[in-house]
Amino acid sequence: MGDLKDRLVLVVDDDPDVIEYVSAILDDHQMKTMSASNGKEAMKKVRETKPDIILLDLMMPKQSGLGFFNELKKNEKYKAIPVIVVSGASKMTGVDVKSYIYDKEKELSERKQKVVGTDAKPEAYVEKPVDPEKLIAAIQKFLP
């Protein structure tokens, strides 16, 4: 359990409306926010200013969400940052997004790309549509 005031949250989502929404919630709890709309941008922001906690959407184009997650967990400096996945689906009809993505990553690792952190997991999953109370509860739980 942590105190929320002035803590920095990185919100990663390709939908600007989601960023708008989540930022409004965080703002109401006196938290500070920065945002990114893809994995590459997210990594850039992390290097600029280390956030206290990350809210990550996995369902982004080109699987950049998972790519970002893995890169984060590979990195000594950043791997301890708690990550909460805010996802539009835990299971997408016909294609299980998670398994599809993990399979892709596994394939990449088989091609000798080091993906440390296949054991690493996000702290929590918050499903969309986002419920403000649930979101805050999750953040409070995992904020160091």
């Binding site: 982004m60 997408m92 016909g94 294609v95």
Partner: protein, 559 residues
């Protein structure tokens, strides 16, 4: 008391006679079968003058049958006599059968003579079959007479044993029983008959064709297996006793194979082969019929079998449809969840703005709500287009107008993303017959996808239409965007699959595919990561005749 040897001799005699009875039925059934068939056709084919003779042949055949059943009945005394003196028995047999047999042979040959000039091929060929059956019959009888001599190793004239083996190959034919002449079952089937015997196949084919089925024949197991590779049959009639590959083995092959496993099989077998029949049923044969086949029973069982298959196929279809429906509902729910997020977000922000008295913020929140209203509309429209089995509403249109219409819908979005939409049109396509709403929908989805693919760095989406041949034209939508890899291409048209993360409904392409299919067209994709994508639709300029809902001739305004 008989000696060991004598007793053994008795047994082999008994076996021989039992087998003989079995084998004599074959030519008798052919005689009866063909003559009955010829009589049935006599009226319609104009050989009324031959009816009396045909009736005599039939009568002879029936008499022979009755005599055989009687004399060769193992439970009767006559057989016991055979044990004592096979030669005398044989002689008596021959004597009893002589009269009806002569009748059959005599009248058949007379009819053959009379039709030598007239030359009705089918009629004569059936007569010839009767003739050869009568001769086979005679030959078999000779075998009994000469049985002891055969046993002793002498072969009295090559004919007898030759005929025996040819009889063995000869058909167990259908023994006709009263049947309606004008049978037409509603829903005749596509049947495959597998039997190594030609006459067997022939008679079975003719009966079943009369019953309204479409018949294909195979002469042996191997041929049957070849045929089912290229054609799917509703039912297989399978003889058990065949050389090289018997019915059981054929059945095994069928059941081992996923595609063929469900073909219903009716086993045809002789009375003494109950064990084989049981094995086949355990292997999965639907039903069995004993020879000589009773046409009425045959019709009933085939009908029942086909009906069962239809019910099974129907049930499977239903199941697939339900599964798809379930998928659709789940996918829909998923999309709605995402949309809900937009509404909730908008609501939260508007409420917050009210608290803070911030009009600007309220505007932002409200536009989120508005955007999602638009998204819901698109989703519903896509869903409805996708799930409905519709016929296109054709009208004569100028293709270029449709392209312009789609462009207009997307101009604003393109501008925002820094994407240019280029169009190249073909003068020849000013008059095509299409479902204009459907095609505009396709274009909106494809061009929209193109814009989204470019969105990071700006780019160009080109729409080109060109004549492909007299009857077809092509509509190609390309973008200079990010392209797709092989894995994505594989699942691209799958419902609810989207490369746009939470922004995509995953229905855009399935809808395009559906509309193209309705027009009897085709769609292809070419894409390379980093090098953009091209979707090409190939469509007929005018629908095939008879497809227009108002019945008008589709070849409007032909140049």
């Amino acid at each position: 008391m008989k000696s060991e040897v004598e007793r053994e001799g008795d047994l082999s005699q008994r076996a021989f006679l039992a087998n003989l009875r079995h084998e004599l039925r074959t030519p008798i059934n052919a005689i009866i079968g063909y003559s009955e068939m010829l009589l049935e056709d006599a009226d319609t084919k104009g050989y009324e003058e031959f009816i009396p003779d045909l009736q005599r042949i039939l009568k002879g055949g029936r008499e022979l049958l009755a005599l055989i059943d009687d004399i060769l009945d193992p439970s009767k005394d006559a057989m016991a006599q055979a044990d004592h003196d096979i030669d005398a028995y044989g002689g008596r047999l021959r004597h009893a059968l002589r009269t009806p047999l002569n009748s059959v042979v005599g009248y058949t040959e007379m009819l053959l003579e009379r039709t030598e000039e007239k030359g009705d091929g089918d009629f004569r060929s059936d007569l010839q079959k009767i003739d050869s059956s009568a001769r086979s019959f005679l030959s078999l009888i000779e075998d009994v007479v000469n049985f002891s001599k055969i046993q002793a190793g002498e072969r009295p004239g090559g004919d007898a044993s030759e005929t025996l083996s040819s009889i063995r190959e000869a058909v167990k034919t259908i023994r006709p029983v009263e049947e309606d002449s004008a049978l037409q079952i509603s829903g005749g089937g596509d049947l495959l008959i597998v039997d190594d015997n030609e006459i067997s196949r022939d008679l079975l084919t003719r009966h079943l064709q009369r019953q309204g089925h479409h018949i294909t024949v195979a002469e042996n197991g191997r041929q049957a297996l070849e045929m089912i590779q290229t054609h799917s049959f509703d039912l297989m009639l399978l003889d058990i006793m065949m050389p090289e590959m018997n019915g059981y083995q054929v059945l095994q092959h069928l059941k081992d194979n996923e595609t063929w496993r469900d073909i219903p099989v009716i086993i045809i077998s002789a009375l003494g082969e109950l064990d084989s029949v049981v094995r086949c049923i355990e292997m999965g044969a639907e039903d069995y019929l004993f020879k000589p086949l009773n046409p009425v029973l045959l019709r009933a069982r085939i009908g029942a079998c086909l009906e069962k298959k239809r019910l099974r196929d129907h049930a499977r279809e239903q199941q697939e449809r339900l599964a798809e429906l379930g998928e659709n509902i789940a996918g829909l729910a998923h999309c709605v969840k995402n949309l809900l997020n937009g509404f909730k977000g908008g609501e939260y922000i508007v409420n917050r703005a009210i608290k803070k008295q911030d009009l600007g913020m309220m505007g932002k929140g409200w536009s989120m709500v508005e955007k999602n209203i638009g998204r819901v509309s698109k989703l519903v429209l896509d869903m409805l287009t996708y799930v409905k089995d519709r016929e296109p509403e054709y009208s004569e249109v100028d293709l270029n107008n449709l392209i312009e219409e789609a462009k207009e819908v997307l101009n604003l979005q393109a501008e925002k993303m820094g994407v240019e939409i280029k169009t190249k049109t073909d003068e020849n396509l000013r008059k095509v017959t299409l479902d204009s709403k459907g095609i505009v929908r396709c274009l909106v989805n494809l061009i929209g996808n193109g814009i989204d693919a470019c969105s990071e760095e700006g780019g160009v989406v080109s729409v080109e239409s060109r004549l492909d041949s007299d009857d077809y034209f092509e509509l190609a939508v390309s973008d200079t965007g990010c392209g797709m890899d092989q894995d994505t291409l594989k699942v691209l048209f799958r419902k609810f699959f989207s490369t746009k993360g939470s922004q995509g409904t995953g229905l855009g392409l399935p809808v395009v595919q559906q509309i193209v299919k309705e027009h009897h067209g085709s769609i292809t994709v070419k894409s390379e990561p980093g090098h953009g994508t091209t979707f090409t639709l190939r469509l007929p300029r005018h629908p095939p005749p008879g497809k227009l809902s108002d019945g008008k001739n589709p070849q409007l305004g032909k140049e």
